[in-house]
């Protein structure tokens, strides 16, 4: 047993995700990334004296849909609370959040690892809150807060709707943490509740990490890791923190419960302890807002908007024989996955349509710049083509040609095949006639074959196929040729 395998990591993730809405959470300022500083602000999100919040209905619907997607329960009663603390990029010096009655409770996130193993991480809750403004730290410190002598604040982001997803400590490795985050991301994007652009800061996460002797059920002392700006940095930061904690325990010391910042450049976490005393957030119900009641009718209405979700698709695609990478790629390309599912729904053999979708159609889409789902090849048409191949009406070569023509807008493959007589022939007499012609024209090849150069068979098959204008059943050609030559 190595030092590493003697320990088990226990990881929980707190993740903040900006919701995709037209306006901010409590005012009508545009919810858009970037722009000139302090241009998307109004009395409400700038916390001018006298301004009052009014909740964005769409943000609440997004929350409920996100909860439903993870099988969370949606309490009938929910409310907003104030979380009181002073920070210069938080205009009111309290954040409107949800304390003891969040919009969603429980549920779980199903995710998978690179090797395709399916996993599950329970959710504690998802609650709705508002984002803060952004600070730029100046005067030394290279843009970091430590060492800076002043900060500049842009309130454009202040008040953007934000959901906080809190997981249970169900994750056991950095890979699982990333798998979990990827699952959150693809679900939110697919639901349309967030764009989840980490580079724009629309998904930010902190990880609670502890280790314990393998097999133990007690929790060790945890640290909270911040400043992870990409999934890659999540992976590296957690791995590094686990190693650090193992080294601390191995050296006979104890883990200190603290917040640690990930240093991307140095690849280590640093203690962020400061002299500030512990926070006392003094949560209380926001008297400027009224409670939210969610009735069964709304839940039913929103349930109908929940699409087929990634884990379900992934498992199904794996069952079709896709490898984990292919399945992930297709799952993450929602329009293409929808298209693929529509083909299957139209009766196409999944494996056969998978090959068309992942290779030929994706290539055509790349070449032409038209997404597959917007191309002239409807799922029904593709299902028709797949059926033609399945029934051996056309061979794969003709099928590829047909696909190109369908892409170009020539319509139903069945119609093309019928009109142009492209159906594959398995007429033994006809094929034998063609074989005779080819052998007559290639006497040397026939002789060579008989002399043991059996690899010439491929050439001869090709010649017969050519003579049939591609319509001959290649397997049958091969078989009959062999017979003839032996």
């Amino acid at each position: 047993m190595t030092v590493q395998t003697r320990y088990e990591a226990v990881i929980g993730i707190e993740c903040h995700v900006e919701l995709k809405t037209r306006s901010k959470m409590f005012c009508a300022c545009a919810n858009e990334f970037g722009g000139e500083p302090n241009t998307k602000v109004c009395p409400v999100c700038l916390a001018l004296p006298g301004a009052l919040p009014v909740a964005n209905a769409e943000a609440i619907r997004h929350m409920i849909r996100a909860g439903l997607a993870f099988g969370a329960s949606i309490p009938a009663f929910s409310k907003f609370d104030r979380k009181n603390y002073f920070y210069p990029d938080m205009p009111k010096d309290y954040q409107i959040s949800q304390y003891d009655m969040p919009l969603t409770l429980g549920g779980s996130v199903r995710y998978w690892l690179e090797d395709g193993t399916l996993k599950e991480c329970k959710l504690t809750r998802i609650h709705l809150e508002e984002d803060t403004g952004k600070s730029i730290h100046g005067g030394g410190g290279d843009g970091r807060i430590a060492g800076s002598s002043f900060s500049l604040i842009d309130f454009n982001r202040a008040g953007v709707p934000l959901m906080e997803c809190v997981s249970e400590p169900d994750l056991r490795s950095a890979q699982e943490a990333v798998g979990y985050l990827e699952a959150l991301k693809r679900t939110f994007v697919q639901l349309g509740v967030s764009d989840v652009k980490m580079e724009e800061g629309s998904l930010r996460c902190d990880a609670n990490v502890s280790i314990r002797p393998a097999g133990s059920t007690e929790l060790g002392t945890k640290t909270e890791i911040k400043n992870m700006n990409s999934f890659r940095s999540v992976l590296r930061a957690i791995e590094s923190e686990i190693e650090r904690q193992i080294a601390v325990l191995e050296s006979g010391s104890r883990i200190v419960q603290e917040t640690r910042g990930w240093d991307e450049g140095q690849g280590v976490t640093h203690s962020m302890r400061s002299k500030e005393e512990a926070h006392d957030y003094r949560y209380f119900p926001d008297p400027d807002l009224v409670p939210i009641e969610v009735d069964a009718a709304l839940i039913d209405e929103l349930k109908k908007t929940i699409p087929v979700l990634p884990p379900e698709r992934f498992a199904r695609y794996r069952g079709y024989g896709m490898d984990p990478k292919q399945a992930t790629q297709l799952v993450d390309n929602f329009p293409l996955a929808d298209y693929f599912d529509a083909c299957v729904a139209a009766g196409a053999n999944p494996q056969a349509s998978m090959n068309f979708v992942l290779s030929d159609l994706s290539r055509l889409a790349n070449e032409t710049g038209t997404p597959v789902n917007e191309s002239a090849v409807t799922p029904e048409a593709l299902a028709e083509l797949v059926a033609l191949v399945e029934s051996k009406t056309v061979n794969s070569k003709i099928a590829k040609e047909l696909l190109e023509r369908m892409w170009a807008g020539e319509g139903s493959p069945k119609a093309i095949v019928e009109q142009e007589g492209l159906a594959q022939t398995s007429d033994t007499g006809e094929i034998e006639r063609l074989i005779d012609e080819v052998l007559a024209a290639n006497e040397k090849a026939a002789t060579d074959y008989k002399a043991g150069k059996t690899n010439i068979l491929g050439f001869l098959t090709g010649q017969v196929m050519k003579a049939s204008r591609g319509k001959a059943n290649p397997a049958l050609v091969n078989e009959l040729l062999r017979k003839k030559l032996e």
Partner: protein
């Protein structure tokens, strides 16, 4: 003094709409009156000569164009915790001493739309915290009936301005009695509508779940006119009531036949001394003489109102006033870091009463005390509301004192709690969100100072309340013109 200034709002609006006098002429007369007396009285923190003239001209144009405006040309005092775009809006605090509001509060806008002319921004206790106006950091307001005495508070500037003919309507805000008590002290009508009737958008918050805007006027009819103009649903305030407002002005009555008026058993006026006891007994007898049936009702938790209020209001204010932090607007006192800047700014910017309330509220919400104080007070609030609900099963209105004493001399209440006791009779109605008003009911003390009778109605029964107050006012006429000292 031009007698125009003594006219009621109803008379002015009628005359301006009939083009018997221009809004501009009314405005000039009132501005002259302000310039004549306000250096001594100190009702206004900011005089709005230019804006008043502009608005008056606009009103004259609209009237000339054929419009009839309910408050055409009516001179208006705006309490300086209400935003009026382009004007200094201070909440009588050093922390906002030079802040120019970039937007207008809904209630003020509605008054302007109805044709009222803003004469000035009136003085108040800092952030509306107080009962005498002595907590204003920016000026002293004197009682027009005796310049050695306070005008009451927190809407003391508006009350005194209306009493002294410096406006016909004063806009006030009432959290625990801040319209009714100064109304009583200055011998004017002070009316607090049901919580949520008038939008709080643009009212600088003190305690969000209690704050309510209402008018101070010389007649009940004017209070009804002002209420009709300012009340109504506002989508910018989540706590604004979304139900139709029954116009009060047409329902004013001349008698109290058929009304049962409750006298609260627990409000023992004998405690207030023989003279005041006799005065209120006379007032109740006057109600009976007008046809009302007097019934004894009980508010068993009335004695707990003050304690309940002095936990809830400070708790909310501690959070509402966090935004005054020196970052975005208002006063900043520099410090070596942001934390020091906050502490120095708030130490210099807030007066002692505001600090006291922020501290008590912070304490009541802090970890370990939240349930014992804040939640306990919220439960006591429920009991207070239930008390009224039960009492109103036996009566249509409740009559009570509006304040514990007549206006007192400056600096005579050194102990905060004795000042808080001034609101003993008004706080229960505030906790229950009820509409309540004070109407002049005679004089007490030496020199004789005005007293107010408080009437309260069930939620949303403003029309009943104003109707009855009108009958009382017509029958008694205690607001004697000419008794004022300026």
């Amino acid at each position: 003094m031009n007698d125009v200034v003594k006219r009621s709002a109803a008379e002015i609006a009628r005359d301006v709409n009939a083009k018997r006098i221009s809004a501009r002429d009314v405005t000039e007369a009132v501005l002259a009156r302000v310039d004549e007396v306000d250096d001594r009285l100190g009702c206004y923190l900011t005089r709005l000569h230019d804006l008043a003239r502009e608005q008056a001209s606009r009103v004259d144009e609209r009237v000339a164009a054929g419009e009839s405006l309910p408050l055409a040309g009516v001179p208006l005092a705006v309490k300086d915790n209400m935003c009026l775009s382009g004007t200094r809006t201070t909440a009588a605090s050093k922390i906002l001493e030079n802040w120019i509001a970039p937007y207008t509060s809904t209630a003020v806008q509605r008054m302007l739309d109805a044709g009222a002319v803003p004469i000035g921004k009136s003085n108040l206790d800092e952030f509306a915290m107080g009962s005498s106006c002595e907590n204003s950091a920016l000026g002293v307001t004197r009682n027009p009936y005796d310049l050695q005495r306070v005008p009451g508070g927190s809407s003391g500037g508006s009350a005194a301005a209306v009493a002294a003919f410096e406006a016909a309507i004063g806009m006030g805000s009432d959290t625990g009695g801040s319209i009714r008590e100064p109304g009583a002290f200055c011998n004017v009508v002070g009316f607090k509508p049901t919580y949520g009737r008038v939008s709080r958008y643009g009212l600088i918050a003190f305690a969000s779940s209690l704050d309510q805007i209402g008018p101070l006027t010389r007649t009940v009819e004017d209070a009804a006119l002002a209420y009709d103009a300012m009340a109504g649903h506002d989508p910018m305030d989540s706590t604004s009531i979304d139900r139709p407002v029954e116009p009060a002005a047409p329902s004013l009555r001349e008698d109290l036949e058929g009304l049962r008026i409750g006298i609260v058993k627990e409000f023992v006026t004998a405690k207030l001394g023989a003279e005041i006891d006799a005065l209120y007994k006379r007032a109740y007898a006057e109600l009976a003489k007008l046809g009302a049936e007097l019934v004894e009702v009980s508010l068993p938790t009335a004695d707990y109102g003050l304690a309940t209020y002095y936990l809830i209001a400070p708790a909310e204010c501690s959070s509402n006033l966090a935004r005054f932090d020196g970052v975005r607007y208002g006063l900043r006192v520099d410090g070596a870091d942001v934390g020091q800047m906050y502490e120095q700014t708030r130490a210099a910017g807030f007066g002692p009463e505001v600090k006291r309330r922020i501290l008590i509220g912070t304490y009541a919400l802090s970890s370990g005390y939240y349930d014992a104080y804040y939640v306990k007070a919220q439960k006591a609030r429920t009991m207070s509301a239930q008390d009224f609900k039960k009492a109103f099963e036996h009566c249509d209105l409740i009559a009570a004192p509006a304040a514990s004493s007549p206006a007192f001399e400056f600096d005579s209440k050194s102990d905060p709690y004795s000042m808080y006791m001034m609101d003993y009779y008004t706080i229960p109605m505030s906790l229950a969100g009820l509409p309540a008003l004070s109407v002049p009911c005679g004089y007490a003390g030496t020199p004789a100072m005005p007293m107010g009778l408080q009437l309260a109605a069930p939620l949303f029964e403003e029309t009943r309340l104003l109707g009855a107050a009108h009958a009382y006012e017509r029958a008694t006429a205690y607001a004697v013109e000419g008794a004022i000292a300026v």
